[in-house]
């Protein structure tokens, strides 16, 4: 298996190379079959590696460490990293299946372009999830980023996608350069680039100083930009609202979560020991940023009428919750977050898949414009509503289980998680009720003027082009079955006890700073066997309180949606200052990112 680990990254890369090289002469069917085969092979490899109990460590070229000193580059397949790689591969497979007949026929000779970009994107995500080397993490991070920009702006002949892709590109690249500066500082201090080796060197001389703190802030900046933590999040709604819908599945479902994974991985392996950043500091950073992101995302999500933008803001809110869950730095917090991420990926991707069907059929993603026009596709409406309920944390969806497990960490958490779940789920249910049932008012057509005579800042979704080239009458079976399969996946996460147990064991192993170094550098078998750890703790499973809180937030979401549909919710004026901050201006976003670096430093050094 050690030898097969690099193939998880290499197979999609090779597939992309074949598609770029031979794509000009390939018919579309062949190109998409090659892409699906590569993505499936990578998924199978990741799942096969997951089935083994121990961590898989693979040194490139056989340059193994001698006496704990490493000169090589390492891939580390622990269960959480492999799990993330498997999730990314599964979603990429879903994207390829979904876009099988979704996209307009590409121009002659370009049939390989889209599948090749998606495969490169997959390679970047899998590589980032599996690498044990900080500089490689930066390279994979950039590979993922560049493919993300290109995929976001894939419809270059339209005006909004290029603007969204530009915002995405500027903010993310700036963040990743900050990360690289942090990596250079760590190399200057320790002379190492491997995460485990850097951690060990820092621990050897545990003197906390400004350099380590600066490196922490800089490295975290890039990862938090990817994780869309407020105030680094501005690029996300712009990019996700305009990216082609199949791409949104993977952007919202797994790419943003990859940033959270990076934060957790770098914290535990590099800064988790006595020579790093004290746990209290990291906890403060992640919990404060997480709470602010969760509330901002949920409030902004509720205010949107552009359905894809609404779902994008709900991703900001949920990623905030993930940051809080990881920031607790406990086994329960992390394992709950893993389950939450898995459930969220299924639910959010299914919601995007349904939105894509709306766009393809009705040529709009605007909640007001689509009012009642989805009446004849009630089946899609049912899927959309189920996705909304899953977002709201309804048991037994995986989102509900993850939420319940994390909430046990502290007394104030249920309030935050309940509020964010209810607002984001409620917004999705409101859309479902208006579009598919046609309930309530049609919604205003004219833009109301605010008191200052200033135009309300908002993005309507009316002038989107159907990505199928022409409008479709019936949703093609692949698109519907992808949405159903994704929702079924979200349901399975909350109903398979073995998964929760394995996640719990994997989380204890993940948070073990010294254990990771011993596994990677010393060759000790590690990786958390499910069984003893979980049995001692009872694992992470449904409790009565957790299920009740999940039902409560789902009920609250239904009430909110119903109130909004019948017009009982106050007008949107109160949130105008917050909405005005999302100005769509690249300079503003860069300024916010810089302010965020300052905030991060304050929280770290406080």
């Amino acid at each position: 298996m050690d030898r097969l680990l690099p193939l998880i990254v290499a197979v999609p890369l090779l597939g992309a190379a074949v598609l770029v090289g031979a794509g000009r002469r390939m018919p579309r069917l062949a190109a998409e079959t090659v892409a699906c085969a590569c993505a499936a092979a990578s998924t199978a490899l990741a799942c096969a590696a997951l089935a083994r109990a121990t961590t898989v460590v693979s040194w490139a070229g056989g340059w193994r460490p001698r006496h704990g000193v490493s000169g090589g580059i390492v891939l580390v397949g622990d269960r959480i990293g492999l799990g993330l790689a498997a999730l990314a591969s599964v979603l990429v497979l879903a994207v390829l299946a979904y876009s099988w007949r979704y996209f307009e026929e590409p121009p002659r000779g370009h049939s390989g372009a889209f599948p090749a970009l998606v495969l490169l994107f997959q390679a970047g995500m899998c590589g980032f999830a599996l690498t044990g080397d900080l500089f490689d993490a930066f390279v994979f991070f950039e590979l993922m980023g560049v493919c993300g920009y290109a995929l976001t702006g894939y419809h270059v002949e339209e005006s909004r996608p290029v603007q969204g892709a530009l915002a995405f590109g500027f903010v993310n690249s700036l963040g990743s350069y900050a990360t690289l500066m942090g990596i250079a500082l760590l190399y200057a201090r320790t002379g190492e680039l491997g995460m485990a080796a850097i951690g060990r060197q820092l621990d050897a001389a545990p003197e906390r100083d400004a350099l380590v703190a600066a490196a922490f802030v800089l490295v975290m900046t890039g990862l938090l930009v990817k994780a869309a933590a407020v105030p680094f999040h501005f690029w996300l709604p712009d990019a996700h609202a305009v990216a082609p819908t199949p791409v949104c599945l993977v952007l919202s479902g797994v790419m943003v979560e990859t940033g959270v994974y990076g934060v957790a991985r770098v914290h535990t392996t590099v800064f988790g020991g006595p020579g790093g950043i004290p746990a209290a500091g990291t906890r403060r950073v992640l919990v404060v940023l997480g709470v602010v992101s969760a509330v901002t995302g949920a409030v902004m999500c509720w205010q949107q009428r552009h359905i894809k933008r609404l779902l994008a803001f709900s991703t900001v809110g949920h990623t905030g919750l993930f940051l809080v869950g990881v920031g607790l730095l406990t086994d329960e917090g992390l394992s709950g977050t893993c389950l939450y991420v898995l459930g969220h990926a299924g639910a959010k991707a299914a919601l995007f898949a349904c939105t894509g069907i709306l766009l393809a059929r009705l040529g709009s993603v605007d909640e007001h414009e689509l009012h009642g026009r989805g009446r004849d596709i009630r089946g899609i409406g049912l899927l959309f509503a189920l996705g909304g309920l899953a977002l709201a944390g309804l048991p037994p969806f995986g989102t509900g289980l993850g939420k319940a497990v994390v909430e046990e960490g502290s007394a104030w958490l249920p309030a935050l998680f309940g509020l964010v779940s209810a607002l984001t789920g409620g917004a999705a249910l409101r859309v479902a009720a208006r579009v598919f049932l046609g309930t309530g008012e049609r919604g205003r057509e004219e833009e109301p003027e605010t008191a200052g005579g200033e135009e309300e800042p908002e993005t309507a979704g009316g002038e989107e082009e159907p990505e199928t080239g022409r409008r479709i009458r019936l949703a093609p079976p692949p698109m519907v079955s992808v949405a159903v399969a994704l929702l079924a996946g979200a349901l399975a996460v909350g109903t398979v006890p073995a998964l929760a147990e394995a996640t719990y064991a994997a989380s204890s192993a993940f948070l073990d700073h010294a254990g990771y170094a011993a596994t990677v550098l010393g060759g000790r078998a590690g990786g958390g066997q499910p069984g003893h750890a979980a049995a001692a703790h009872g694992g992470a499973w449904w409790t009565w309180t957790g299920a009740a809180l999940g039902l409560l937030s789902a009920a609250l979401a239904v009430v909110l949606a119903a109130a909004a549909v019948v017009g009982l919710v106050p007008s949107r004026g109160w949130s105008a200052p917050l909405r005005r901050l999302h100005s769509g201006h690249i300079g503003d976003y860069v300024a916010w990112t810089t302010a965020g670096i300052g905030l991060l430093s304050l929280l770290t050094l406080w």
Partner: protein
């Protein structure tokens, strides 16, 4: 080793960020991003510098001679490749922005807000 190169690297990064935040032209903004990135080249090379050392090529110098750190040079080279990719892609998007929006001033791009 003096602290000057590190200050220079920090200064270049801040200059790039300032230019990016106040830019009135997207091509200028892409240039500013490249400036911000070049601070990482300065930082990496400063980290590997050793006084009185020579280039790390051992074909014509005796083993044991002091050389500068070759690892950071490899990192800087990779960094240059990444930077070229990002710059090329962003410039291509700017060209498309000019075609679709008819402007390259970020102040006039108002399709996405709120």
């Amino acid at each position: 080793m003096s602290v000057l190169p590190y200050l220079v690297a920090g200064w270049i990064f801040l200059v790039g960020v300032y230019g990016l935040a106040t830019s009135r032209h997207l091509v200028h903004a892409v240039g500013c991003l490249a400036v911000a990135q070049s601070s990482t080249y300065v930082l990496l090379l400063a980290v590997g510098y050793r006084r009185g050392a020579t280039a790390p090529v051992f074909s014509d110098i005796p083993p044991g001679t002091t050389v500068v750190d070759p690892v950071v040079q490899a990192l800087a080279l990779t960094d240059v490749v990444v930077g070229a990719t990002v710059t090329a892609l962003l410039l291509a998007l700017v060209v498309q922005t000019r075609k679709r929006h008819g402007t390259v001033d970020p102040d006039e791009l108002s399709g996405l807000k709120g």
